[in-house]
């Protein structure tokens, strides 16, 4: 079971320095497929090598929102893989012990790919010659082989060869570490109330993606964004009993929502103790405390009526 979990990479150089916490990413395509099925999309951010001059179609790394990451971990779909820096010492440690082994691995992989390519190219060449009516057995010039050698493809892989070793000798799941990392992420990039909004919408089968462009926290899709338009812009979570709703933000949010064909949604967590609770750290041993809170959220949608 634990093997099929999605692996979220989290680079933290110094656990005491919040600046060095880098947002969670995914580098594995199979993991991405699993995420899609769960209705978590993330944002692709890397250059797509064969269409490198555009920004619409991108490739790995897949950047995940903090709320997505927490939801995946709390529900047991994913595990956090901490890559703890400083990277220079981490890398030298790994390379000193495993350097030769890794080198051999990389070299073997490269040679194997070269062999396959050579074979493929020779077959293609032979087919071409056959079409022209030349006996391929006779054509065995060294020049041809040289050409093939120089046109072999060297690939840069998505995943890392070395970093898989930085976890050896550690227990696979360490709840206290995980909860500490999640708290670190939340305190850096969001807050727990925002997460509860996410969780509540997720339980209603919405797919969320970042909504800064629409003046909100998320935009919500009714299904996979590949096939469906988004319907909602969700604003940052309100403190349900205390926060005022600003009239100007109300009109601007609703007005913008009309123009982009989205409802403007505000929501809050209806927990009278929330102001005292939200700063508290969560413990992963009792994820129920967070998971059961999904009924405590309340949403309001605001629409420009365009009446009269």
């Amino acid at each position: 079971m634990s093997e099929s979990k999605i692996c979220i990479k989290l680079v933290v150089h110094d656990l005491n320095d919040p600046e060095s916490v880098i947002c969670p990413m995914i580098f594995n395509l199979d993991d991405m497929v699993k995420l899609r099925r769960l209705g978590v999309c993330g944002i692709l951010a890397g250059t797509l090598p064969f269409a490198a001059q555009q920004n619409i179609f991108l490739t790995i790394p897949l950047k995940l929102m903090v709320e997505e990451t927490i939801w995946l971990v709390l529900n047991g779909y994913a595990e956090l893989q901490l890559i703890q820096g400083p990277m220079t010492s981490l890398m030298t440690n790994i390379l000193e012990t495993k350097g030769d082994e890794l080198f051999k691995l990389a070299r073997d992989k490269l040679l194997r790919s070269f062999d396959l390519q050579r074979q493929y190219k020779k077959e293609q060449h032979a087919l071409k010659l056959q079409k022209l009516g030349i006996d391929p057995a006779r054509d065995n010039s060294s020049a041809n082989n040289k050409l093939i050698e120089s046109s072999l493809f060297v690939e840069t892989p998505n995943d890392s060869l070395t970093l898989q070793y930085c976890h050896q000798g550690k227990s696979p799941i360490d709840p206290t570490l995980d909860s500490m990392l999640l708290n670190l992420l939340i305190s850096n990039y969001s807050n727990w109330n925002n997460y509860l909004l996410y969780q509540s919408l997720k339980s209603q089968n919405y797919v969320m993606s970042p909504g800064g462009r629409f003046g909100g926290l998320f935009i919500a899709y009714p299904g996979d964004p590949l096939r469906y338009h988004s319907h909602l812009t969700i604003d940052n979570a309100l403190d349900y009993y205390n926060d005022p709703i600003d009239f100007i933000s109300l009109t601007s949010g609703a007005r913008l929502g009309t123009a982009v064909k989205k409802l403007w949604v505000i929501g809050g967590v209806k927990d009278e103790n929330s102001s005292t609770n939200k700063a508290n750290d969560i413990q992963l041993n009792q994820p129920e405390t967070l998971l059961t809170k999904r009924n405590d959220t309340s949403f309001f949608s605001i629409e420009w009526a365009g009446f009269g």
Binding site: C23, F27, L44, F50, P222
Partner: protein, 513 residues
């Protein structure tokens, strides 16, 4: 107070067109999607909705592309449905869309062939990469050579080029071997993209990289801002006496200016006022009213710019202000890495979700505006023949002089160097055709003066905002009837020809503030 008037939401920096035919075709696609310059806010919002849909694009088209024609077309986004209705056909379509997407992702091999392989070795303690056999077009705009003739890529360039497959990334297996064997093949361990991302030291650094890569993919030349950059401000060694007298002078005048408005207000609101002055026309009233509007002073020409820069340097305020990140140049053939011309844009990177960062405050903005150092586009408007090379300085020497000197060194080269001309042509090409005073005024009101781009990072989605200094108070926006009888006559005739109902607001300029 610095007036921050125009905050224009821009989805993306417009991509300037290139020469090659294939590429212009592609450009058309992009600019069609991006052309939202003159639209109002609602239109922009609607536009960005379209781009939102680009988040879930139609990957089936790009999956069909192979290496040969990938440069030709960027596929349009596909059709979408309103919401899932549980039918099989929707399931099938979704399945196909996902299939296409993951096919495209897994079939996009990154790298190069052995013959053209460029090896870049990451050196951890320098946080940059050494290129063993530098070759390729990227040399024109990226990297730098140190005193030992080693070619270095900074970390942004290294990762960007590795992602494209232009360089193959390596690290050293053993750092302690003898120097002649250090960069042998047997000591080079290939890196994956994941490894390189793990070398980012802070989230902010990664956000900056994302913006860098985004702009590079659009074809811009991007470099980090440094103190050694070419500047429009010549006096590196400041004359203390001059600056001192200047500041004293400035203080006196500013005192006078603030007093003047107060005095004027007192006079204006005094009922006796109307006993002395008779108002016979509307513009007369407007002109008087204008004095009542307080507005910030913004530099509008090169001398005022240099003045404000001098002031800024003198009173370089303490405190931690946000600093601009990148210089950005439009794609150009005569870009010189050593003696750059002034950039076309300057960019500040800001992560919206980072709780430790904040949107630029008023003080931040003042600081940023004062430290701006680019081809101020509003100067081009004042003077069509503005030559930036003469007005930009490298180490206190005018750039045109520096270029001449370097050219002299290269006299062996037979071809005469055609420089600065293409730039001029370019600037002419992008000028909108209408140059009536009214159009110019509208442009001033809309675009403002000094400006910079704010790249807002939201979990991997980048939005660009243009923030510019505005001066709305000093523009006369009302309609002024011309006093010359000749023109009056023609206008009268013109009105006659029009239908009688267009009476008071016929002229487009009849707009009041």
């Amino acid at each position: 107070m610095a007036d921050v008037g125009n905050i224009t939401g821009k989805k993306s920096v417009k991509k300037p067109s290139k020469k090659s035919r294939n590429k212009t075709h592609k450009d058309n696609n992009i600019t069609n999607e991006l052309s939202n310059d003159n639209d109002d806010l609602i239109q922009q919002a609607a536009d960005s909705d379209l781009e939102d849909d680009a988040l879930g694009q139609d990957w089936s088209e790009i999956a069909k592309l192979n290496k040969k024609n990938a440069q030709l077309i960027i596929p349009k986004r596909g059709e979408k449905d309103y919401e899932p209705d549980g039918t099989n056909i929707q399931e099938l379509l979704l399945y196909r869309a996902r299939e296409a997407m993951f096919d495209a992702l897994s079939n996009s091999a990154r790298g190069g062939i052995v013959k053209n392989e460029v090896k870049a070795v990451y050196i951890p303690n320098k946080h940059s990469a050494l290129v063993l056999n530098p070759k390729g077009t990227f040399l024109q705009t990226m990297g730098n050579v140190d005193n030992d003739d080693n070619f270095w890529l900074n970390f942004n360039e290294f990762l960007y080029l590795a992602e494209r497959g232009t360089v193959i990334p390596y690290c050293l297996k053993l750092t302690s071997t003898s120097t002649d064997k250090l960069y042998e093949d047997d000591n080079l361990l290939p890196l994956g993209i994941e490894d390189i991302y793990a070398f980012f030291k802070t989230q902010h650094e990664m956000d900056q990289f994302s913006v860098f890569a985004h702009l590079k993919r659009l074809g811009f030349v991007v470099n980090r801002i440094s103190a050694k950059d070419t500047t429009y401000y010549s006096n590196l060694k400041q004359n203390f006496l001059k600056s001192a007298t200047h500041s004293v002078f400035k203080q006196i005048t500013s005192l006078f200016i603030s007093q003047k408005t107060n005095m004027f207000n007192a006079l204006f609101y005094n009922p006796l006022h109307f006993k002395f002055i008779k108002y016979t026309s509307t513009p007369q009233i407007y002109r008087k009213l204008k004095h009542l509007i307080p507005h910030a002073w913004v530099p509008k020409n090169l001398y005022q710019l240099q003045d404000s820069k001098r002031e800024f340097i003198n009173q370089k305020s303490k405190g931690n202000f946000l600093e601009l990140t990148y210089n950005v140049w439009k794609p150009q053939t005569n870009y010189k890495k050593k003696n750059t011309n002034l950039p076309d844009y300057q960019v500040l990177v800001y992560n919206k979700n980072d709780n430790k960062q904040h949107f630029p405050t008023n003080d931040d903005l003042k600081h940023i505006f004062a430290s701006l150092n680019y081809k101020f586009e509003f100067l081009d408007e004042v003077d069509d023949e503005f030559e930036w090379d003469k007005h930009s300085y490298i180490n206190g020497v005018s750039r045109s002089v520096v270029l001449k000197q370097t050219q002299k060194k290269k006299t062996n080269l037979s071809k005469p160097n055609i420089q600065s001309k293409p730039v001029k042509n370019q600037s002419k090409k992008f000028r909108p055709p209408s140059t009536t005073s009214h159009a110019k005024q509208m442009r001033r009101l809309k675009n403002g003066y000094r400006s910079f781009l704010l790249a807002v990072m939201d979990n991997g989605i980048i939005s660009f905002l243009k923030i510019s200094e505005a001066d709305l108070g000093s523009e006369d926006v009302w309609y002024v009837p011309t006093t010359q009888s000749k023109i009056k006559k023609t206008q009268y005739q013109y009105k006659k020809r029009q239908s009688p109902k267009s009476n008071t607001t016929t002229d487009g300029t009849g707009k009041l503030v």
